[in-house]
Subunit: 312 residues, 2 copies
């Protein structure tokens, strides 16, 4: 066991799932928002979590998304040692930008690297979903997929897991507005109807198809007009304070699209260029100050690489 392969620092990015039209399917990876993790080999078999900073999350390996994902990985390889995980959490749990996904994905990507990369990215996503199962109640893949693949991603199917990377456009910037209220994923699921109108479904899959096409052809107009959600947003937007008002502000100021990030309460604005993103951040800031609801705003580029690692 070489010294250099004993310890790794991981940047585990935040992610935006759904992207308006692509509920449960589309996602993208952020660049400037994410957790830090330090993973070390240890002589004892299994997974431990020795430190969590930033937020109050379980140290018990059976209850934390990172360790549960890591254990799913370990089930698929025979080794006589284990790993310890330290988590420096910056993504608030329940914020809607893939907090548990970052932990799950960061753990399996870091460990895979320490093991000499025995697993494919799709296998890693499958392990990371087990972390999502413990955190959200179901093994959803729409945040762990962009966290691991980077850029824009599409979950083609979950059983068996099939995921694809879509092209990105370098000019795109994302503004994340995070009102500091709690929206539980389970509640956000509960407001959705079991059935939807066929005609709305048709609108939605036309939008998914044209959004995917727009990424290949770098057609901003098509990209913008595809970022529509007639299925989920009408229900979930009610859980998010001042959604209508903030949507109007972003679109009036030239945003390409505005929607709910994952199950909220964070929202995302996609903009062309840093200048427009800065303007929209300022306008949202100005508006939200008046609401008296605590909030945070970030600007991020699209992160094309996903999780970043560094041997330490």
């Amino acid at each position: 066991m070489e010294e250099s392969n004993n310890k790794i620092e991981v940047f585990a990015p935040a992610t935006v799932a759904n992207l308006s039209c692509g509920f449960d399917v589309l996602g993208l990876c952020l660049d400037s928002v994410g957790d830090k993790m330090i993973i070390s080999k240890k002589n004892k078999k299994g997974i431990s979590i020795s430190k969590i900073k930033g937020f109050d999350l379980p140290l018990n390996p059976l209850e934390n998304a990172a360790s549960v994902a890591a254990m799913a990985l370990l089930k698929n390889i025979k080794i006589d040692y284990g790993f310890d995980i330290q988590i420096f959490k910056k993504i608030k749990p329940g914020s809607g930008i893939g907090s548990s996904a970052a932990s799950s994905a960061g753990a399996v990507v870091g460990i895979n690297k320490l093991l000499g990369n025995p697993f494919t990215k799709t296998e890693l996503i499958d392990f990371a979903r087990e972390g999502e199962r413990i955190a959200c109640g179901s093994p959803i893949a729409d945040n762990v997929t962009p966290a691991i693949l980077g850029g824009f991603t599409l979950v083609k199917s979950t059983n068996p897991l099939q995921v694809i990377s879509l092209p990105s456009i370098s000019e795109l910037h994302v503004v994340i507005l995070h009102p500091q209220i709690e929206v539980k994923t389970a509640d956000a699921r509960a407001v959705l109807p079991k059935k939807i109108l066929l005609k709305d479904a048709v609108t939605q899959w036309a939008n998914v198809g044209s959004l995917v096409s727009s990424l290949y052809t770098k057609d901003y107009d098509l990209f913008a007009s595809s970022l529509q959600d007639v299925v989920v947003e009408p229900y979930r937007s009610k859980l998010i304070p001042f959604f209508k008002e903030t949507k109007k502000i972003t679109l009036q100021n030239g945003a390409l699209g505005y929607g709910i990030s994952g199950s909220g309460p964070s929202t995302f604005t996609i903009c062309k260029g840093m200048e427009n993103a800065t303007l929209i951040k300022e306008e949202l800031h100005k508006f939200f100050m008046k609401t008296k609801i605590p909030f945070k705003i970030y600007i991020s580029k699209i992160n094309r690489k996903g999780i970043k690692t560094k041997m330490i």
Copy 2:
């Protein structure tokens, strides 16, 4: 008025709408199946139909899809002359491969050419939809779009009309199986539920997204696994004789996908290469001979150009 611009011969191709996952949205254009039309300038204003061969369709310009589409075009241009249309119909009405769409699209593309191309392709599709309105009861765009654009197409929205061309893959061949029974579009619509399960809609839009991606990346495996329809096929396949059996035959013999063409009764098989298409045509032929139901089978490449015209 130059002699050379007085008369045009039009090849108006058959088309496959829906393509399994893309109900009301996706379509492709066929190459070897289509109608011939001859359109001539005439001194008298308006549209007339002087001849229809092949099938018994209305000569009354107010009742024929071709002339209704042509009249929609004429409403948008000021000219002091008119056009006469002759239709040599090869695509059987009600076959599910865009018979009325071929007439509608052929008429407007031919007339546009005789006029010196004043209209964009999207405008022509919008006019052609009026022919569909008279033939099918609603101004559907999913057959006239591939007829006019060629290749694979996506109807992004119908109000306002927004359509996009998707890349094609030259190796793809289509086998059309047309059992000679009647399935009325209205009946095929009536069997569909108004509402569908959200989870099925998610499966469907994941498939539309990945199908579009597969055309850009020329990924045959992804293309094949995306050609799934969990929404419409379960209902409409009951209207089509021996659908299950023929689907099994095509997939067991290496087809990339099999589904209902438009609202049926024709089905399409998409194959990689002529050799596989020929094999599948033979196997379907062998099977259908035993059913005692009259049928036709064609093989076609993807037609990337759409309607073809020749001044005569």
